[in-house]
Symmetry: C2
Subunit: 342 residues, 2 copies
């Protein structure tokens, strides 16, 4: 970009002021903000150029200027400097979830809540299980006259269980049979392989027992599907209502944002690693044209990957938001790696 230093500063100032106030920024304010190093007229000339370049927009003739999504893009890529997360913020994050001894079941949910709380935006966390992950073992554990615990352990160290009541009396033989059946037909397969279709085909082989065992195999399928899908949380969606520019179409926006698949698509569009920012119209989805999204990806010790991110108004404090999102991403990567490996 062939912008001279002064135009760069002007664009910066407009982006920052507009982010703070939400009001279009006029040449006079910019001049004052630069300690009147240049007169409003000079600023105006530069603003006209920035406008020609499509970096600024004007809501109407007699109003100040506002950064276009392209202007924010330039600001984010070239002009802003990410502000590292300060100690005070670090403390309040630690207060929100216990970093030393995190509860693995709640970690992702708590992280989404905390990020949302800190940024004032909607925040999400998601983990993705690689296609290469296989079922290491299926445990069938009797736990009563007619109840079983079904447990699936995968090659990446994730374990999940479900309790199911059975229609029959649980005997050692039945348990052994089921165990062997799962060991033969399910263990070793990738989670991807274990589809409703596959389960149907192996159920057939059970012959006369298929009817009573079907609910149990369904539970196995559910467990595998849940692990394969990974975890997902979206928190603080209501926070978006406080931004007038989003409150207009709040219903559509929230409806869109609540659906995991929509956010998953967003995550998939982000770069493989690091942080990706989607500004306004850069978003594919119609509903998010007036939003920006920040997505940070992290690895979980080579055993999978996670993403954390937020959705807020285009007019957001990118310098702070990016730093906070990345801080969380690093934290989550470390904590999850420790949980799965340690």
């Amino acid at each position: 970009m062939e912008l001279d230093e002064r135009k760069r500063r002007i664009l910066s100032v407009i982006a920052e002021l507009y982010t703070q106030t939400g009001e279009p920024v006029g040449s006079k304010v910019v001049s004052l903000y630069l300690n009147s190093a240049y007169s409003p007229a000079t600023i105006r000339n530069d603003m006209a150029v920035l406008f020609e370049l499509g970096l600024l927009e004007q809501p109407h003739t007699s109003a100040g200027r506002v950064p276009s999504h392209l202007g924010y893009r330039v600001f984010v890529d070239d002009l802003m400097q990410v502000r590292p997360v300060n100690g005070q913020l670090r403390d309040s994050i630690e207060a929100m979830f216990n970093i030393r001894d995190p509860d693995p079941d709640k970690l992702l949910e708590d992280a989404a809540k905390a990020l949302s709380e800190i940024t004032g935006c909607a925040a999400f966390t998601a983990t993705r299980t690689p296609d290469s992950v296989t079922v290491r073992r299926v445990e069938i554990i009797p736990s009563g006259e007619n109840t079983l615990v079904i447990m699936v352990m995968t090659s990446n160290g994730v374990i999940r269980s479900k309790v199911r009541r059975t229609g029959f009396r649980v005997t050692a033989e039945v348990v052994e049979f089921l165990r062997a059946f799962c060991a033969g037909k399910i263990a070793g397969l990738t989670l991807r392989d274990i589809s409703l279709r596959y389960m149907s085909t192996i159920t057939v082989e059970l012959g006369e027992y298929s009817r009573v065992f079907t609910p149990l195999l369904a539970a196995v399928l559910e467990l595998c599907s849940e692990i394969y899908a990974g975890q997902y949380y979206m928190e603080g969606g209501i926070k978006l209502l406080q931004y007038p520019e989003l409150a207009r179409n709040a219903g559509e926006l929230l409806g869109h944002v609540w659906e995991r698949e929509n956010i998953q698509r967003l995550i998939d569009q982000a770069q493989r690693t690091g942080t990706t920012i989607f500004i306004g119209k850069e978003n594919q989805s119609q509903e998010m044209q007036n939003c920006s999204a920040i997505v940070s990806k992290y690895g979980i010790g080579g055993r999978g990957s996670g993403a954390i991110g937020l959705i807020g108004p285009i007019r957001m404090d990118y310098a702070a938001m990016v730093a906070e999102t990345e801080y969380f991403a690093r934290l989550m990567g470390e904590l999850l790696t420790e949980i799965y490996d340690g």
Copy 2:
């Protein structure tokens, strides 16, 4: 209430028309709606009386009349006739969740979603575990080098499990020790008794082992707390945004509605059995003054109780909503009883 038949009909008509259109209702429309059986002037006189009684309100002098929350109360108690759920609706409910073979883990969530979908309101479901429920058994099941499944079974037939990694190698002795410890210190107690405080005191008795076992006992506590708290789902909160009269304070309302404790308070205020309706200002909470809530309670085969309900605009079709909520309540009672007893 000393209303004559005509005034009763007029109030009914105003309630119905206002519910449909959202516009204040004038004497002329009411007259036409009653096939001009009475002239607008007559209607006006009656409306003036209803206004004096506080059953009608007028937004401003030159506008029609609107039922006050007291007016809706009279309408709901004395005038409306609940419309039974018709077959078509029944079919679409069955399409939403499989009534014949419901998934116990998802039943409450699905019911809330379905009720929300059908009514266009926010819908919630909750179950309450009676204080008398005790822990029948705590199972500790080894499932790997250093993983355990912890399972709690209660006297009302609820079973829940959690997987926990341990900091030590799982041996038969350790498992036996933990089993005995739980059998002695936890089994037989009511869920209410098993508090963080109680767990702390018994942890002390573990002496040198307390450090390694604490996370496991914490898991037991979590399981008991979760069972004691019962299940809770709130679905379709966004639907409230479509009602202009609610969209004003949407942020506050949604924030309030999403907190289980707020809705639990609402449920606790409802009658022990049957359906309770809270209209507008009848709601205790400030945030819900512009809402109405319908709460239906049902028993779960004597083993507990559940509630299902919805939150929507004051201007709602009570006759239909009450019928639908009660239909769901009956259905849930039957299904849950079957799941726990069958």
